[in-house]
């Protein structure tokens, strides 16, 4: 069965610090990978996604993620965080190249950025 692990449950950073949030998945076939963000009181929003091609994908608000197939990882990065990045971040996987259309989510990482 598919599963997604996010090892950092709660991260606290100062503004301008660099961010890397880990995401590992368990699935033997083709996967589509997503990062979502939920700002306080708002809906889940898509940050970025990977389907195929260049394993380094860029998303909105300066975020990027790198797909490393050999490590089953899709870590999220941002070189310099801002206070407005305070939010909960979710990694998600869709198996079979999208055939099932089901998203499997990680447990989420709560990021707090201190001014």
């Amino acid at each position: 069965a598919q599963s997604v692990s996010q090892h950092n449950h709660h991260v606290i950073l100062s503004e301008a610090a660099s961010l890397e949030l880990g995401c590992n998945y368990s699935y033997g076939g083709t996967v589509n990978l997503f990062w979502y963000v939920q700002y306080p009181g708002q809906h889940l929003q898509l940050l970025l996604k990977y389907f195929s091609g260049d394993p380094l994908v860029k998303g909105i608000k300066g975020f990027e993620a790198e797909f490393i197939k050999s490590k089953f990882s899709f870590n999220l990065r941002k070189p310099s965080v801002q206070w407005s990045d305070t939010a909960e971040y979710f990694c998600a996987v869709r198996g079979n190249g999208g055939a099932t259309n089901k998203l499997i989510f990680g447990t989420g990482t709560l990021l707090a950025v201190q001014p």
């Binding site: 997604v4 589509n32 989510f105």
Partner: protein, 113 residues
Amino acid sequence: SAVISQKPSRDICQRGTSLTIQCQVDSQVTMMFWYRQQPGQSLTLIATANQGSEATYESGFVIDKFPISRPNLTFSTLTVSNMSPEDSSIYLCSDLRGLDGYTFGSGTRLTVV
């Protein structure tokens, strides 16, 4: 951008009762999904709801406990039946537009007392 209206946003319910959560989407979509997010845990898929057919439930979820309706391409409901405190959770609906356009509702925070 795509919009899903979900209601109620929160409710406090007595054990043994049922609550129906509604999601209205702003355009016709084939696939809708219902998730549960228990405190400190991931979003867990409850079922996939396609218009004109029975919902497809994930392992650990059954229709008697979580009946779902999908009367048309813009609307779906999830009922949490015979509630117990263990059902206290956030419930989210989602839809899929195109290949990868998932949109999420704002969630329903349910507390069962």
